[in-house]
Symmetry: C2
């Protein structure tokens, strides 16, 4: 039901929201970024600085701290942290139109389900493959890739047209976007890497390349993955051990000097999304009666590091 | 076969070696500390500084870097790191008398066995309960406790007299020392705490008290303990789950502001003993075909942190 020139709102102006919102705005779409005052101030002054691999440009777009401005949006890109999903949806719920489409560009596998539980708007997951980081207020740095896949994820087939419109919108904005028949599989395949690598990289504040130089870490990644695949299967997603091994093996090769987003969160003294990564595997393990000791260890240790950040001892 | 006034050598002048060697010397025993040049220099100048809870005193004792001086020893206190056991024994082997008694005051459960494999001298384990740290060259700080238990650990019964002599020697030096009929049980009970707490404290560079404020960490401790108890049982040491829970529960209560020795090693940029703590549980698990995923995770993560210390990336 999405028209050809939809008004777009981006909820959460982290690196992912700024990059994709910025790319859409740069291509001429009407984009509103709902963000904290520091970003809004910087963007109002100079535009959003897209510091990309292939170009560097200040892009004009509307930025506001006022969540009520979401009222105009036909399409919302939900880019808040997984831990903030319910709160963010609660804030926009009084303001948005009934048929506004919500696309979750978040990490983890359950954000679109949680949004659907919280609000009746049509909501779909996107799997985002991009390496970006905020280099300052209103300044997003693009390090690699930048494509998206989306899908109906169990919603009625009549939404196929809407998703095609969304995909065309992205693709016309230099963001390659495909509609997949089984987007949950892509979601879980990306989630595998998050569960296998993010926590360990965060615990060591360590690059993917250096992380796997310790042989015992490879054994730990294998254990995390074996537990993950059992849970995925119970959730109706079949990923073979061989496929998982291939997906995992690429990470330290393609991103040797990269740290995980979880590592970046902790290094900046921020709460991480670990409750929705290894923490979700642990909860699903309890639900399905599948032991997940390796994922539990990673979850516990990252929670402990978070706790230490937020309750410093003199 | 140990006389009444044995000549004592301390191998490895860390906090444990300095404290117990210093206490024996202070009581009038002939003690030689075999140590690195920095400690030897400081001790030759001013004596060994025992900075204790109940007294502070510079104690005179003989310190040397020359391992050949071990030739006079009737009793050797082996206080090197678990990872240095074979190397240290190899260095002293050409020099020591055939009947010199070796007492291992080291962490872990297999040092006395590894010494017995390396050398034919009568060798016994000691379980050390003490909180000490090196505060500088030739300066040991004593923070709490200070008792020892020893036992024959499978050696023929005729060694009972020797152990009684050793125990009397310590006890007369203000180091309470008991001979236990089943010293392996005490060894494993202490080892439990090392496996349940040391690695986590090291990963977080975190005090025991703050460590357990994260609920998920308590679950992890329970998982480490459950795996540990299965291995202990296979090794002929029966510790009940209730007993283990009691032992573990005391740690954050009695030492809330203490970090593990493993944490202290990493914070000083030194190699830890993790291969002989959780690493030993993992190896025994493979040997006995018992899964030890929680211990494997801790072992892997501490190994990774060590690796990062020793191979910094620019």
């Amino acid at each position: 039901m999405l028209g050809d020139n939809p008004t777009i709102a981006v909820l959460g102006a982290g690196a992912v929201g700024c990059y994709f919102g910025g790319m859409l705005a740069r291509a001429g779409n009407a984009v509103t970024l709902i963000a904290r005052a520091n970003h809004v101030g910087a963007i109002k002054k100079k535009g959003l600085y897209l510091d990309c691999i292939s170009f560097k440009e200040h892009v004009k777009l509307h930025a506001t701290t006022d969540v009520a401005e979401i009222a105009n949006a036909d399409l919302i890109l939900c880019c808040v942290k997984s831990s903030d999903t319910e709160e963010a949806i609660g804030l926009i719920a009084p303001h948005i139109k009934k048929d506004t489409v919500i696309l979750s560009l978040q990490n983890g596998v359950d954000n679109y389900e949680r949004i659907r539980t919280a609000i009746s708007n049509p909501t779909f997951p996107a799997v985002v493959y991009v390496a970006t980081r905020m280099a300052g207020d209103g300044h997003v740095e693009h390090v690699g890739r930048g494509e998206i896949v989306i899908g109906t994820a169990g919603a009625p087939g009549e939404w196929a047209d809407t998703l095609n419109t969304v995909a065309a919108l992205f693709s016309a904005s230099n963001v390659p976007c495909a509609v997949l028949p089984d987007v949950r599989r892509a979601l879980w395949a990306k989630f595998l890497v998050n569960c296998a690598y993010n926590g360990i990289s965060a615990i060591g504040a360590i690059d993917y390349g250096q992380m796997v130089e310790t042989a015992e870490v490879q054994t730990l990644i294998d254990a995390l993955t074996a537990e993950f695949l059992l849970i995925a299967k119970k959730e109706g997603v079949n990923i073979s051990a061989e496929e998982a091994m291939d997906v995992n093996a690429q990470i330290p090769i393609t991103m040797p000097r990269q740290k995980s987003s979880t590592a970046q969160d902790l290094m900046r003294g921020k709460k991480s999304e670990i409750d929705y990564l290894n923490g979700l595997i642990v909860r699903k393990g309890i639900e399905h009666n599948i032991p997940t000791p390796a994922n539990q260890a990673i979850h516990a240790l990252v929670k402990m590091l978070e706790h230490k950040i937020f309750t410093p001892i003199s």
